[in-house]
Each structure stands twice: as structure tokens, then as C-alpha cells.
Symmetry: C2
Subunit: 512 residues, 2 copies
């Protein structure tokens, strides 16, 4: 038996109690409204039951495994280890695990890519819980080219899906592009997006035609059929998008695909961010076929230059990277229109890729954002956060945030999906003092975004890190509606507790 | 006092009962699980209270008004009159009415455009209920061109919104285009789409950035802020899209707008529908910038010819109408690509509009669909229904349906949003026999669509007309999830009862 559990085992032996007794005893002791979870003894019993149900090696209480599934190097939020990690291979496996979680009242958290930034997949403090690892449920079940859709298991990674489509010569792709390594299940849970959202929308659009979900009561539902559209009531698919595993565990999904089009790339530098945003607004409202438009601030351009990752030297100014799409003719037209508009707003050093290789190299430099920032501070870690505002308010947000970060002496770069009013600050953390300064700066950044009619997170999700802001952002009524739904679907609060919904005592505007 | 209520008033006078007593009495009598609504006497008292709260003329029990708000000439489903219609002018008005509905436990149904086809806005049989008329809540609250969004009241019509934008010289439009006269509130309730959905998606995509909703408990929430994207949990906006007024009454919405692009039109005729669909699939998967692609069957083309509404004579074959978009250069390229592809699949008589006037004329002929069908049968009515399937299954669905309709001697035409696998059958009804034949044909059509992994409605919604199919289509678990949410949000089943959710005793595959 691993470290974590020895004292429980000891306790059980000592008292010869059936875990259910402990459960009742525990329940009597605790008269608050918080749910009553299994005692440690009951969890031990549940683990024994899981070990009997699953093949050897699929149920782990190894402390390294528990750590890897409960903590993230990219998150600075409090977390706790799970009690056990179970590797699921099918929807039926997930059902089995959920039934045991129900029997013993044990929190249950799904894990797949593990790339989230806001502490989405940690265990429940003081309890632990069951972590279901879905990462090996990564099969492609079917590809329907004529219907431009495909069915996959939820552990499949979006990059692998796109590689498979390309390898099979299918001229379609899945356009949601969050961080590398993200899986379909996590992308659904977070309500993700990425650089392509300005053209294709987010996970909350219509890229998930249906999902197969295991509900907290262990029931399996499929939310919709494969028809591209349906008007049969409110779409329960959407309920699970952004729910962060708190309402159900997605095991399969039908993805809508888009035609893979030829693209090209251009970059341009601006005297300041306001002119850059004004140019983007005009380009978007003119309907130029933009697939992506990314803002990299002067610090970020400096980091790319200094990192040596790129052969090219850029002007260290607030810059835009455009990816536009269509036939060669359409690309030429888009490039000319973009050039004309950006120059009207003071854009300098406009460069359009002359061929595919150049386009790919230019875009690669956008992708170096995080690595370039990190390369400047060897051994440091980074805290990455995101907010979004209506596009017209983005300049104000960026300018004030840059001032604030400079005043707080925080080393940082900014990169944004400017077409969506969404930006990421990458802030360097080298010690406890810097960590505290960054934590406070994130808090101020969120409040700045909210004051501009924005959101505390454009695409990273709430997890543990942003839940204190939900009431202020959405209003108590909307948050209560979310809780009402949560309570109705998961009355024992078994599915990923502690995430998304604000703690009962959190008040608008309060901090920590 | 109008007709409807006199007996209740009489009863009240006779018994000198406070309506609450009747309510309790009623509640004792009825021990079933169905919700207990106010007695007629209580409703009369509620009406008196409404009359005291609202200006003269805004509360009506006039039988013509009740009829107009409870029945539709386009729906063949059972309906019942409301007890009273109240004209609301603001969110606060809606709150007042909902509070009275709560006090007396009276069903409450929102009404605005009244264009729905599936009996969405009828009263509750045996009870009546309050109808809130939101049609004069049609203001545009703000237009934010730089953010390409606007805020409107829910009674605003999509056509008026687009005319206003055009009149103000704003190069943006709202791309959801259901039937003429539809309002934003109804469009949200039904989860609508239209001809533009193949390019822009449906109401379930991201066209509604947020909604202001009055919940069944009378609370007002705004689901989101105005940021274009947000990852703050599952999006409660989506809960109200397609909920048909059963979870909340939408009073305001923030709409996302799209650039208004130049478009052109082309038509082509096919030997049969399978080749037409294969051509569309290739065109869509190649990423040709299509805004609409509509299928009109041979019967429909014949109707257009015979109606005399069009100057042009068309080949009476299964035909496609394309609308494609972009600069002149992009249009030329799209037209050439389409021509090449459709000819590969046996397309004949390809005609591309040579100028805007010709494009507008051609598209107008598509719009004549319903009128042309009706013109062939003076004095007849039409039953219009819709289903959707994965696009690859559309030919099978259309061919079998045409065979079935012919065998049943039903006069009909078919028009479809072929890019979405969604089609409408317009069936002529001249007498009770034909009505019964059509009713049975619709039933067979729905089962045919479900057997092809499709949906009983692509865009018209469920209402009363399609609710018997929900369990078969979505599975009992998904329907139960919808009911769980309904019960949690509207425990007394006050909001638009009898719509959307299948009756408790309906079983998969049962009919009527």
C-alpha cells in the first residue's frame, strides 16, 4: 500500500468498521450544507473494490502517479492529491468507476491531457478522490468525410486528429486549437478555443455535434444524433462544454470538421496597440478571410529577437501576425487589403510571406511566444493567465496592464487573440516574492477586464484559479442558476468538486 | 368581461371563495404528479390584479385577441386559448407578470412573432394561462460597430434589425434568417436557423453573446457579458436557446454581427437528388465561400413555373440555388469552381447571375417556394414540416419521402437547406381526409429521418407537434436530463407547459 493510505488502513484494522459505518458517522458529525464524502477508510475499501474490478496496473495509488494527476507545473493554485488513479479504456469502465464513487460517495475527477492552467484536475482537499485517467481512450471511431464529421474518444488529442486526417488525405480539419497536448475531453470541459477562433468560433459554437457522457448517477447518455443541426429543444451537448467535468464525464464526441484551406501569413508592427486593434476591427468588419490574427506586444517581439529561436529580427513594437486563407488569388487579394488597411493605421514593416515555407516560418515565430519568454529567464517558471473584453476595449486593457506590470516590476510578455478581444499575459516567477506580486497583478488584471464588460477568462476556464470572480462577472442570479443545475444533476457533488462554482462564502469583489 | 371567463366569475360570486381556497381545494382533489394550476376563479382574480397593475388596454381577455395569441393558421396541432394576454414593454413588466403567475400558479407563455409552425405558443388545455405579448418590445438598445455586436429587445424582428443596420450604413448584418416576421425572442426559443446556416451556423452557435432572462421565480439574470468569448463555465445562454420559453422568458439579447459581403447567385438542375447532394458535398468540403445552398425538387420547380410568379422558366428537375460571397474576384472564382463541380455530377442548365439585379431576381424565385406551392391550389392550406439528417443520408431521405408522398396522393413540394441536411416538405391540405393523410406522412417522415441518424426537426422546433419523438431521437436518459433541468428551474411547471418535453406516458415509437 502506498504512503497516503497506511494510516487509514491502520484505522480500519483497529476499528473493524465497515466503511459505510464510518460514512454515517462522518455524516452525523458534519451538519453543514457541504456534501459528506467517504471517510478515508471507505476510500480504502473502494480502492480494493476497484482493484478487483480492473486489471492489474490500471488502478494506482503510487505517489508519483497521484502527484502527476493532481498537480500541474503550470498552475499556481492550491491542489490536493487524489486517493487513486484508474485508467479507463471505455465508457463502460467509466460507468463502473462512477458507480463505485456513488456507492462510497467519493469525489471523482477526469484527467486526460493535463494541460490546463487553472487547477482543473486536482483532488479534493481533505478527501482525495478518484481520478479517472482517460488519456488512453484516444481512438478515432469513425471519419465521415461526406458529412465532414468524425467520432472520437475523449482522450484523443486535437493535434493527432488533424495529423490523422492529413495522413489519410482527407481535406478537412478540426479547427479548435488550444495548447499543445490538449485532448477533446479537456477541450470540451474547458470550453476552449485558440488562434482559429476568430474565423471558426470556440468550443461553444457547433464543433461538437454530440457527446457521450457518463452522468454523476452512472447513466450514459448521448446528447444528440449526428445531424448537423437540430432544433429538438435546448442542446444538452452545450451543458457539458465549459462545465469542467462537474456535470458529466465525456467519453466520446462527434466533431464537425471544416475544409482545410491553403493559408498564408503576414506580419506588421504598430506604434501602439490602439492603432493595431483599430486596424484589426476594420479588417474583420470588411470580411477579409482571416483565419487568425495575433497580437504580440513589444516585450514579446523583443523576447523572440533575444531568444535566438528565430532567424529573423523583428522591430520591437506591438505587432500583428495574420493568417489568411483561400485560393492563391484570394490570398493575394487578402494580403493587399490588409496592407492597405494596416498602413492607414500607421502599420510599419508589413511583410507578407512569399511562399509556403516563408509563411510557415513566420507563423512559427508566433508559436515561439512562450518559449521565447522563458528563454530570457533560464530556470524561471511562468504564470500564464487570460482574460477577454469586447474588442474595442482591448487597447485600454493592454495599455493599463502593461503599465501595471511594469510598475510591479514583473517581467512579462503579452500575446493575444486580438480578433476576439482575448489576451494572455505570460509572467515570470522566480521566487516567492515574484509569485505574490504576480498573484496580485492577476487579480488586478481580472478586475480591469470586468470593468471593461469583459470576462475573467476567455479560454483557459475557471478551475480553482478564477472561481472567486464568477459572481462579480455573471451576477449572483446566473451563478445560482449554474449551481441549481449542478445540484439537480450531481446532488452529492461528486463530480470534480471545488472547481468552477464559487465557494459558498465568496462575495463579489472579495479576494482569496 | 369576455366570454371565456363569465362562468368563473359566476362561480366566484356564488361561492364567495377567495381564489386561494379554490387553489388548495383543487390541489387536494388532484393527487397526480402533474402540476396543480390555479382554478378559473383564481385566474380571474389574477386578471383583476394584472388590470390594476397595467395601463388600460394592455391587459386583454377579448376573444379575438386570445385566439390570435393561442392559435396559428400554420399549425395543425391541438391548442387552447390563453385566459389573458398582457402586453409587456420592459423586463420589469415581465417580472411583474411572472410574479403574479407564481402567486396564483398560472401557466405563462411568451408570444412575439407568432410565426412558429409546431404549436409553440398555445395556452394550456383545461387551464388557459397568461400570454405575455413581447411584440412591442422591439427596440434596438445599442449598436457597437467596432465590436460587431448589438443589443436588442427580444421582440425585434431579424429583418427590421438588418434593415436598420443597412439604413445606418453599418457594413454588418445578423445572419440568422428563419421565416419572415420571426423575432429574436422566438428565434432564441426555437433554436432557429435558415438559409444562411450553411455558412454561419445556427442560433446554437455564437450569435447570441448573452441574453437577459426572467426566470420562472421572477428573478432577472443576464447570462454573460459582452466579451466575444468567455470560458467562465458552461454558458447558460445556451440553456435558453431552443428551450421554447420553458426555462425563462428572454427580454433582451446581445447579438454578434457578421460583415455584410457582396453576394451572387447561380442555379443548376440535376437528373436526381443524389447527384445534387454529391456536388454540394464536394463544393462545401473544398471550402468554396458558399453563403446558402438550397435544394428545390422537381415539383417545386414546376410550381414556380406554373405559378407565374417568375418571368423565367426553369427545367422541372431537382435543382440547386447557390448564393456565394466575396469580392467580384472571389465571386468569379466561386462561380467557376461550382460550375466545374456541378457539371462533373451531371448538373445541367447552369446559370450564374451576370449582375446584382439578376442575382436578386434568381434568389427571389427561391423565396417564392411556399407561395408558388400555394398558388397551385387556390384556397388550400399547407402543412410545412422539417427534419434533418447527416448530409450523406439526404438523398435517401428525399427519394423515399417523394415516393411516399406520391403513393399517399399528397400534393407537395420539397425545399431544403441541403448544406445542412435539412429539408422542408410543404404539403397541401384541402380537407379532413388530406389532413389525416398528411399527419400520417409527417409521422413516417420523422421516423425515416430518425432511422438515418437524423432529427425530427432541423429548425422549426418541437412545440406540441414533435414532442412525441423526443425520447426515440435523444434516448430516455437525455430527455430525463432535460426534464431534470426543467424541474430544477421551473418546479411548478409554469413556463409554457405542454411544449417541448414529451408527455409522461409517451413511449419511444408510439404515435399520438
Amino acid at each position: 500500500m502506498p504512503l497516503l493510505a497506511w494510516d487509514v488502513e491502520h484505522f480500519l484494522r483497529l476499528h473493524r468498521l465497515h466503511p459505510f459505518w464510518c460514512f454515517i458517522w462522518n455524516s452525523r458529525r458534519d451538519s453543514s450544507i457541504t456534501p459528506v464524502y467517504a471517510t478515508k477508510a471507505a476510500i480504502i475499501e473502494a480502492i480494493t473494490e476497484l482493484e478487483a474490478l480492473f486489471p492489474k496496473g490500471e488502478v494506482s495509488t503510487d505517489s508519483d502517479v497521484l502527484r502527476a494527476h493532481g498537480f500541474s507545473d503550470n498552475s499556481y493554485h492550491p491542489s490536493a492529491p487524489h486517493s487513486v488513479v484508474v485508467l479507463a479504456h471505455s465508457t463502460e469502465d467509466v460507468v463502473k468507476i462512477v458507480k463505485i464513487a456513488n456507492k462510497y460517495r467519493i469525489p471523482i475527477t477526469a484527467f486526460s491531457g493535463g494541460t490546463s492552467l487553472e487547477g482543473h484536475f486536482g483532488g479534493t482537499p481533505g478527501v482525495g478522490g478518484i481520478c479517472i485517467d482517460l488519456s488512453t481512450m484516444d481512438s478515432i471511431i469513425s471519419i465521415n468525410e461526406a458529412d465532414s464529421d468524425m467520432v472520437v474518444q475523449s482522450g484523443a488529442k486535437w493535434e493527432d486528429i488533424n495529423h490523422t486526417l492529413e495522413d489519410q488525405g482527407i481535406p478537412l480539419f478540426f479547427p479548435l486549437d488550444p495548447g499543445p497536448g490538449a485532448t477533446i475531453g479537456g477541450m470540451i470541459g474547458t470550453g476552449c478555443s485558440g488562434t482559429n477562433a476568430v474565423r471558426y468560433g470556440t468550443a461553444k459554437a457547433e464543433w461538437f455535434l454530440n457527446v457521450t457522457v457518463v452522468l454523476p448517477n452512472g447513466e450514459v447518455i448521448k446528447t444528440r444524433r449526428r445531424a448537423r443541426k437540430s432544433s429538438t429543444g435546448f442542446d444538452t451537448t452545450k451543458l457539458f462544454i465549459g462545465a469542467e467535468g462537474t456535470l458529466g464525464i465525456v467519453t466520446e464526441a462527434t466533431l464537425r470538421l471544416a475544409p482545410r484551406l491553403p493559408t498564408s501569413v503576414a506580419t506588421v508592427a504598430f506604434p501602439d496597440v490602439r492603432q493595431a486593434v483599430d486596424a484589426v476591427t476594420e479588417i474583420l468588419n470588411k470580411g477579409v478571410p482571416i483565419q487568425c490574427v495575433e497580437l504580440l506586444d513589444d516585450q514579446m517581439m523583443g523576447a523572440i529577437n533575444k531568444s535566438g529561436l528565430s532567424d529573423r529580427k523583428y522591430a520591437e513594437m506591438d505587432s500583428l501576425f495574420f493568417k489568411f486563407q483561400g485560393s492563391l488569388e484570394a490570398q493575394k487579394e487578402a494580403s493587399a487589403t490588409i496592407k492597405k488597411i494596416v498602413e492607414k493605421y500607421g502599420g510599419k514593416h508589413f511583410q507578407a510571406a512569399r511562399d509556403e515555407k516563408e509563411a510557415s516560418d513566420l507563423w512559427q515565430n508566433r508559436k515561439y511566444a512562450l518559449w521565447s519568454t522563458m528563454a530570457l529567464y533560464p530556470g524561471a517558471r511562468a504564470w500564464t493567465t487570460d482574460v477577454a473584453v469586447p474588442v474595442s476595449r482591448l487597447p485600454e486593457l493592454v495599455l493599463e496592464t502593461k503599465k501595471d506590470l511594469a510598475a510591479s516590476d514583473i517581467k512579462s510578455t503579452i500575446v493575444g487573440h486580438v480578433g476576439d478581444g482575448n489576451f494572455h499575459a505570460i509572467m515570470i516567477v522566480r521566487n516567492a516574492e515574484e509569485l505574490e506580486a504576480v498573484r496580485e497583478a492577476v487579480h488586478r488584471l481580472v478586475h480591469r477586464a470586468l470593468a471593461l464588460d469583459g470576462t475573467c477568462t476567455g479560454e483557459h476556464g475557471v478551475g480553482v484559479g478564477k472561481k472567486e470572480y464568477l459572481v462579480e462577472e455573471l451576477g449572483p442570479g446566473t451563478v445560482e442558476l449554474m449551481r441549481t443545475i449542478k445540484r439537480a444533476i450531481d446532488p452529492h457533488n461528486l463530480f470534480n468538486p471545488g472547481k468552477l462554482y464559487p465557494d459558498a462564502d465568496s462575495k463579489p469583489g472579495s479576494h482569496h
